[in-house]
Amino acid sequence: MSYAFDTTDIVLSVVKIAVVLLALLNVVPIMVWVERRGSALIQDRPGPNRVGPFGLLQSFADALKFILKEDIIPAGAHKWIYTLAPTFGLLPALTTIAVVPWGRKFFIEEREFLGRTLFEGGRWFEPVIVNVNVGILIVFALASLGVYGIVAAGWASNNKYSMFGAIRASAQMISYELALTLAAVSVLLAAGSLRLTDVVWQQSGTFRLFDTIPIPAWNAFSPAMWIAFVVFVVAGFAETNRLPFDFAEAEAELVAGYHTEYSSMKFALFFMAEYMAMTTMSALIVTLFLGGWDIPWYNEPPTFLGFILSVAAFVAKVALLLFVFVWVRWTIPRLKYDILMRLGWKVFLPLAFLNIVIVAAFIAMRWL
């Protein structure tokens, strides 16, 4: 495999990785605050409002508390796997975001800086860490490893409730992964590429349905793909183990499910993994169905300004979806487990298949 890169490329890559990683890590305290205040708003109570203005510093207090708690390893636990399990969960959540584009590419002009020529001849800046031609498959490959954190934690804890959580999680995630992947296949058929930047480009611009007002050409609004959008969002909730599909934890039945025995920073890592997985899933929904960084009815210029605007649009969309995650959690009660499995296999999987056929028909008729 041959690589052609120079120092500028390496520096740009490192900057991209640092920016994305820091953004992802900072989402966690913000989302914890949004979740707690949001649940309070929905349940008509004040919520945390003592630490800092609007309780904004509550997350930092929580983090401090996690660090100061005793780190317990149960006597019957499998020590190695018990210790490693939280990182199994965190790794996919941290790495998946690497292939998701988060802005419009723009051209950097050659410039002089401290007597040195930077960006010789100018170059395109692509705001995605790795722009591989199988981007979406990398996402699914890493996302499919997310279940091991839960399974390993549940098994290694040597606790009945943890074990039940782990078994439920593995069955649930296998079932919904199929619907999730097949829903994405519709989008890939329409885009004709596995590269996520291509998927976003295909959604920029507008289309007119029956010669009326121009609608953004996002896949979610496409008459061919809205079913896939619904399936993908629901399966996304199941994949991230969020209510109404949080059977791995299910406080009412399983104490705290797979992380019953965990305390201190190990528990905090599971907590972080959950919110990062949510963020990644939101970014993925935005990229595949909601136009990625595309601003509706606006053609972003290939300049720094266009880049900043597109990044802002991407962040706004992801933030909106993250709020939907919180909103749904505190609105819809948990399903029964058999209903979850029946829904996954008998409703969402056939719907995803149906949508693939519809998209294929649209392509055959040259409507897409």
Partner: protein, 168 residues
């Protein structure tokens, strides 16, 4: 240089975890080690400029099949009791066959292995190229495999259906 470091690191990871799979007594540790080994193998595909195969390797083996394995192992809740050695002859034959196979493998690999870069071959590993080969040149074996899988599913349904009826 970088490629060599990555290659030897992940080759070592793959081999060490593969050894853990066969030597460790605990089936859950074995299954998790196999996942790590598969993952290291996927890195080899990336080094061979075949990211599509790498992704499929992780999705299919590490992400789907091993989760099912783990699921079944956990459901069965295997107790690791040391089994008495009841078949010494078979055990000897097993060791002998594996040793012969390993020796043959080492011999042929050392004989034919190349430590220099191969000339660039016209061989594409993109999703499109693989899809075209599968659905044009190899369409018959491809469909045969899918029928085999279908037969396995129907068989499993038959067995579980009969068992469920018998219990009732």
């Amino acid at each position: 240089m970088l490629e060599f470091i990555v290659f030897f690191f992940f080759a070592a990871v793959a081999i060490v975890f593969a050894l853990v799979v066969i030597l460790h007594r605990n089936p859950v540790v074995g299954a998790l080690s196999l996942v790590a080994s598969f993952f290291a193998l996927a890195v080899m595909y990336v080094l061979l400029d075949a990211p599509f195969l790498a992704a499929l390797q992780v999705i299919v083996y590490a992400g789907a099949i091993m989760v099912l394995f783990l699921f079944v192992i956990m459901l069965l809740n295997l107790q690791h009791v040391a089994e008495p050695n009841t078949r010494p002859v078979q055990q000897f034959l097993g060791y002998f066959a594996s040793a012969t196979f390993a020796a043959g493998l080492v011999y042929y690999v050392s004989k034919y292995a190349v430590l220099h870069a191969l000339p660039p071959t016209r061989f594409s590993t993109s999703a499109q190229a693989i899809g075209e080969r599968l659905f044009e040149a190899y369409i018959f074996p491809f469909e045969m495999v899918s029928i085999l899988l279908l037969a396995a599913i129907v068989g499993a349904l038959m067995l579980s259906g009969k068992a469920a009826v018998a219990i009732r």
